[in-house]
């Protein structure tokens, strides 16, 4: 398949792996964080770690939209969905995220009207078709999905729809990266920058990482060769003593971002003073809310939202996983009490969550290493 197979070429991967291995300083350990959950998914789905020397560790970051939604916020959404005449619409990812009384799927089974949509614009279709109902779109995601919510708000306003609103949970990536950089628990050698977020915000916002924290950043695409190449680019920067922001995903990411998308966001949304992130706690200016001028489409203003903060179950260590401090399997309940089938923590829900990716694809790390050493699996060059 064109535009896909080129980026999954095993021969090119072997060549890149050899170049990466050649850049490894003997005795040095390297730790890179892939910020975006989409990267985590690619890494596990294609078995990319097989190509890396054992001295390079990939640490999974917080860039998974459903993973960072705190439980209280899920409960708020459930409360909204249960109001009379409400149809809640949501991306499929969100459906299995546990609230204190179960997930959207469970609520749906109890009779709450929750519908899965592929685009927020589909919510407008539902609103037009059900004029006697109130349609609330559960908006989640980073800057990647915020523009489509913004466009939906603009469209709803232009049409004068009176039965559509957004429950806004959009978050922004930079404050989360900063929180991780400031966290004392973790020493990282560089970042694989989020590709799709960067199609919107561009590469400039990462410059402080190189300048103030002296860490290289390579914005990467989502095919396995993209990620392997970005690891090579990070290794090259380290070998040459550079800390810069580089763009591996230049076929999609413009250096200055997408001005149309940014304008749509700033027209309809503004930064919240603070927002709670699962595991990372309250981070100031890290999320978006609907602007006053679009108040008529703001679910939080139209409905009474309880806004109760719910502490995570004690056994759940999603926070440590999201910060990259713990590997998924190091969480006490990983794979036993918490599985993709009955997730306790959000990291086990989304295909972009580190725990789900590890559980579904990677749960045999040791054997893989043994195989590489012996019986003709992928060998490290």
């Amino acid at each position: 398949m064109r535009f896909v197979d080129e980026f999954r070429d095993a021969e090119k991967a072997h060549a890149l792996a050899a170049k990466i291995a050649a850049l490894c300083e003997p005795g040095r350990q390297y730790k890179f964080m892939e910020v975006c959950g989409g990267h985590t998914h690619t890494i596990y789905k294609h078995g990319l770690e097989d190509y890396l020397p054992e001295t390079i560790t990939l640490v999974h970051g917080p860039g998974c939209p459903v993973c960072v939604i705190p439980m209280g916020r899920v409960d708020d959404a459930m409360h909204l969905a249960a109001q009379p005449d409400v149809i809640m619409t949501s991306f499929g990812d969100m459906m299995r995220v546990p609230g204190s009384e179960g997930s959207f799927f469970d609520a749906k089974a109890r009779g709450t009207d929750i519908r899965m949509v592929y685009s927020p614009l589909d919510s407008l279709k539902i609103a037009r078709a059900n004029p006697d109902k109130r349609v609330v779109f559960m908006a989640i995601g980073f800057e990647t999905t915020a523009p489509s919510t913004a466009m939906t708000l603009l469209r709803a306003a232009a049409e004068g729809l009176r039965n559509f609103s957004v429950f806004c949970n959009h978050v922004t990536i930079i404050p989360a990266i900063k929180a991780i950089l400031d966290s004392p628990d973790l020493r990282l050698d560089g970042f694989i920058g989020p590709g799709h977020v960067s199609t919107v915000i561009g590469c400039r916002p990462y410059e402080f990482i190189a300048r103030d924290y002296d860490r290289p950043v390579v914005v990467a695409g989502f095919e396995p060769l993209d990620i392997l190449q970005s690891i090579y680019m990070l290794m090259l920067q380290l070998a040459e003593g550079r800390s810069q922001v580089e763009n591996q995903y230049s076929r999609v990411v413009p250096w200055n971002g997408n001005l149309v998308a940014l304008k749509a966001i700033s027209q309809t949304m503004e930064l919240r003073p603070y927002f709670e992130w699962r595991g990372l706690g309250f981070i100031s200016h890290s999320a978006l809310r609907v602007r006053d001028s679009y108040a008529a489409f703001d679910g939080e203003r139209l409905f009474e939202v309880p806004g109760v903060r719910v502490a995570d179950p004690k056994a759940c260590q999603c926070g440590e996983v999201l910060k990259g401090v713990l590997k998924p399997w190091e969480c006490k309940v990983f794979g036993t009490a918490c599985t993709p089938e009955t997730p306790i923590g959000t990291c086990m829900v989304s295909p972009e969550g580190a725990c789900a990716a590890y559980y579904n694809y990677g749960r045999m790390h040791r054997q893989r290493v043994a195989e590489a050493a012996g019986t003709g699996g992928v060998t490290h060059p």
């Binding site: 398949m1 896909v4 070429d9 095993a10 991967a13 072997h14 789905k45 294609h46 078995g47 990319l48 770690e49 097989d50 190509y51 439980m71 209280g72 459906m95 546990p98 204190s100 179960g102 799927f105 469970d106 749906k108 089974a109 109890r110 396995p224 060769l225 806004g307 109760v308 903060r309 719910v310 502490a311 995570d312 179950p313 004690k314 056994a315 590997k327 399997w329 190091e330 309940v333 990983f334 794979g335 036993t336 009490a337 918490c338 599985t339 993709p340 089938e341 009955t342 306790i344 295909p351 559980y359 579904n360 694809y361 749960r363 045999m364 790390h365 040791r366 054997q367 893989r368 699996g377």
Partner: protein
Amino acid sequence: MTASRQPPGGWIAEALREHEEHEEHAGRGQPQRAGRRQPGAADREQQVLDRIDRARKRRPRVREDRITMAHGAGGKATHTLIEAIFLEAFRNPLLEPLEDAASLRLGGARLALTTDSYVVSPLFFPGGCIGDLAVNGTVNDLSVVGAAPRFLSAGFILEEGFPVADLARIATAIRDAADGAGVAVVTGDTKVVERGKADGCYINTAGVGIVERDAALGVAQARPGDAVLVSGPIGDHGVTIMLARGELDIEADVSSDTAPLNGLAAALADAVPGLRAMRDATRGGVATILNEIARAAGVGVDVSEDDIPVRPAVRGAAELLGIDPLYVACEGRLVAVVDGGQADAALAVLRGHPLGAEAQIIGHVTGELPGIVRLKTAFGGTRIVDLLVGDPLPRIC
């Protein structure tokens, strides 16, 4: 300031309690050796993997208090529901293997019996309709246990207001499909429910077939060294249905692979004495069958992504939608496990039949990693392929 609440009780507390009880129990038999040094990261990871293995062998329990769509998706939740509710209630030696059809003896004859319900939406789609599925699905469930399908029943649940012309079309499709498969619909039932209590037309069919061969087929028969084959490109049906719903604004030149597999299955069974098992890859796709083999036989299954046939249009649509063709339903493809020495012969038989022209050997059974399906990715890495969780495509058949 926002109010704060303690972590929820309910199901999470219960899951944690069960987890702790289980760990305590598992730990009792294995006292820590004195003077043992702190285990390294790799050892600790292995301990976690062992713990997960034990957790997965626990008796299945349905945690939800209501049925969710996941219970019908053919993945983990379906397995749990079947084992915890139905197997618990009906347990008997004929049911217990949970094969596609039960094999039984009746007055000297060896028979196979199966039943299946069809709720596909839309009712008509490129390549067929619910009527084709209702015949072929049941014929295939009989065929893969080594039976020759003979007689079918057909039960209809119709919604008030359903067009009679559509029902006539479906009936014609059922007749044509039955003729094609060499079976007869010999009994039936009709119910009508109020508007809104069903979605147009649901069909249930049961089928009886006769078993004339001696070899016992079943996924539990798989053993290391065996080869795993698939009879053609996978995922056509699932992707066709998804696109036919028109919710996605994607168009592709695909049609359902719905077909009766009795001829193909019989040809394979006749020609290959080392045939261990066949399954038709419906809900949950080929990945689910590979996992069933690994679990039932206590073996590992290694497959290679490069060898698994997927049509470009199906791959493209799956890629766009972020789903894995390995989990997408087929309605006319079988997965076969055969003695490794007879793999090429089996492939030749499959390819010699019109429904198996694009058959492939996709992998083999190993003695390593019992219970685990391992995929060599096209990119050159390895990963596991687990049972599906959740339901990307409801009402596919």
